[in-house]
């Protein structure tokens, strides 16, 4: 029998934990950048459409899958999906729900540790008096494990370990006393910090404190619709992708949290509440901070250039400098708010990543919660150290690409097919509506069966065969040259090979060749972890057969 007898403390606690799982750094760093790159205000239309026809269905699928599996004592995806499909192969698809979490936690905790470190640096006033270049250099020095500003040798590693220890300790306290308690503190704090920064984002005045633009310039930049972009498949692909990452679907965490809900209790309303809470944080708060503040002080051209490399640079290299334009005290205070907000967004997500592994060990090998939690911390530490030590060689990005991007799409697609076509919509609909505290619109029966899987398949194929520069028009006219960001060209390392071929400086060539080595090594490492987890699932299955549980 499973050693897992845990429960949630309260319904609000469960919803906050589930919303905390979904709300992550991407809400503040990825969404505004995606919106700017994909048509400004017009991005919101495909984004909300994708939320309605892909996000909400996936939330309902995952919540009801979790509650269904929990009925049989399963709290991780391998045996949750196994209970829904007769074919033995399904439990190995469920391995994605363990693997993704472990691999993502490995690099995500590193990112989370930056936010923790930056909170301390903001309190200590490290950024006070530094110019923008010096603050940008501080970040570059930090991630290259360069000299420490706090006098602690290998400061990023120390913060990474502290962050992991904190996560592991909270996880070891259990669902209600650990994860839920942190969500009950973290989510309100996040909303409070977000509201403060959003207020600042909305009230920048040109000429005051060094600002060159009013808030309205940044808000116009973000929200002015470019309806021509609506016809671009790449905009829809970007919107669908953003919905994935923001809701943390396709990871196995939603199923795990929902597996502790009893069969007679609601999942339909809970899923909607947590889902819309995430949307509020992303659209209302996330859209009001990064871009309006950056444009207010740097102008549109600089920010357009900077968002090409994502939101991380703006968040860590630029905002600390901009905050100090409001004066030393408010600058430090805003730094604490911003990085504190990112930290709470991060920790509520990374805690969710620990629960599937813990549930698996408790269910299948009778481990107690504490041992299972510490084993998670140890595995994440071992798997995460390469992302810390070899950050500059692209190990971090490689983990993010395969575990944090591709794996989500693959698992979400397969679980939707399982739910709608193998388990069957008749039983699936019963699972969604059973105990529901809202009336689930009947049209979703059709959407879940046909539209969601087709959309997911399109997102997957769009990622495998992405045309060069996202130019689908040219691709459909017959000139289908693959982009270096497509899965096929990523596997072939085409981008790196092109860079090596174009390089003339021997030092640069050597650096790129080293990068190629670390990229390939990361993939082998991730594949080894996946195979090891699949082997563990096989062992657990054999154990179940021996014990007469199957």
């Amino acid at each position: 029998m499973s050693a897992n007898k845990e429960s949630w403390g309260s319904r609000v606690g469960l919803i906050l934990a589930m919303a905390g799982n979904a709300v992550g750094l991407g809400n503040f760093l990825r969404f505004p950048v995606q919106a700017v790159q994909n048509g400004g205000g017009a991005f919101i239309i495909p984004y909300l459409v994708c939320f309605l026809v892909m996000g909400i269905p996936l939330l309902w699928i995952e919540w009801s899958m979790g509650r269904f599996g929990g009925k049989f004592g399963h709290h991780s995806t391998p045996f949750i999906v196994d209970s829904m499909g007769k074919n033995r192969f399904w439990k190995y698809i469920g391995v994605f729900g363990l693997w993704t979490n472990i691999a993502v936690a490995a690099y995500y905790c590193y990112l989370e540790s930056w936010t923790l470190s930056y909170v301390f640096h903001s309190i200590l006033g490290t950024f006070s008096g530094l110019d923008q270049e010096a603050i940008s250099d501080f970040f570059a020095t930090y991630v290259s494990l360069g000299k420490s500003t706090l006098g602690i040798p290998y400061e990023p590693i120390v913060f990474y370990v502290i962050c992991l220890l904190l996560n592991t300790w909270i996880l070891s306290q259990g669902l209600a006393s650990g994860v839920e308690r942190v969500a009950k503190i973290g989510m309100p704090m996040l909303l409070l910090f977000g509201a403060f920064l959003a207020f600042k984002g909305f009230t920048i005045t040109a000429g005051e404190n060094g600002a060159i633009n009013d808030s309205s310039v940044g808000l116009n930049f973000l929200w002015t619709p470019n309806f021509d972009q609506l016809w671009s498949p790449s905009v829809w692909l970007a919107a669908a992708g953003q919905i994935f990452f923001t809701l943390s679907v396709g990871m196995g965490t939603v199923q795990c949290y929902a597996s502790y809900v009893r069969p007679k209790d609601d999942v339909a309303l809970n899923a909607m509440s947590a889902g819309w809470m995430n949307e509020f944080v992303e659209v209302v708060l996330g859209g009001a901070i990064l871009i309006p503040i950056s444009i207010g002080y740097l102008g549109i051209d600089r920010v357009t250039e900077m968002v090409q490399s994502g939101g991380l640079g703006l968040a860590f290299r630029t905002l600390p400098y901009l905050f100090y334009q409001w004066g030393d005290a408010l600058g430090a205070f805003s730094g604490v708010m911003w990085f504190g907000l990112l930290f709470f967004a991060g920790i509520t997500s990374s805690l969710a990543m620990g629960t599937p592994w813990i549930g698996f060990l408790q269910d299948e090998f009778n481990w107690n919660r504490k041992s299972a939690a510490w084993s998670f911390g140890l595995i994440v530490l071992i798997l995460g150290m390469p992302t810390v030590l070899f950050f500059r060689y692209g190990v971090f990005d490689e983990y993010d690409y395969w575990a944090g991007t591709v794996s989500l799409v693959v698992f979400a697609l397969l679980e939707t097919i399982l739910f709608a076509w193998v388990f069957g919509m008749k039983k699936g609909w019963r699972e969604i509506t059973s105990g529901a505290d809202i009336k689930v619109p009947g049209v979703y029966r059709f959407i879940i069966k046909f539209i969601t899987p087709v959309l997911l398949l399109w997102v997957f194929l769009g990622s495998v065969f992405t045309p060069k520069g996202g130019d689908w028009g040219a691709a459909f006219r017959g000139n289908w040259e693959l982009d270096n960001g497509s899965i096929i060209n990523k596997l072939k390392n085409s981008g790196l090979k092109e860079q090596i071929a174009a390089a003339t400086d021997p030092t640069v060539i050597e650096e790129l060749q080293n990068q190629m080595f670390f990229v390939n090594a990361s993939r082998i490492l991730l594949l080894t972890v996946w195979l090891t987890l699949a082997l563990l699932v096989y062992v657990a299955y054999k154990k179940r057969v021996r014990e007469g549980r199957i």
């Binding site: 606690g13 205000g41 909300l48 002015t224 619709p225 209790d265 509020f280 209302v284 809202i438």
Partner: protein, 53 residues
């Protein structure tokens, strides 16, 4: 702000905030199911126990 940006922004923010509040209020105002339910905190509330037959 220009009109189209303002319209899109306000419509989106009102819609998202409104739906977030609506569903959250519905969660906290919906009476819980009788014990045993999924939540520990309300286990001892006498009025929520299933009556003995």
């Amino acid at each position: 702000m220009n009109t189209s940006a303002l319209v899109i922004m306000l419509t989106t923010m009102t819609l998202v905030t409104g739906l977030m509040i609506f569903f959250f209020v519905k969660v906290i105002t919906t009476p819980p199911k009788p014990e045993p339910d999924s939540y520990l905190d309300n286990d001892d509330e006498a009025e929520r126990q299933v009556p003995n037959r």
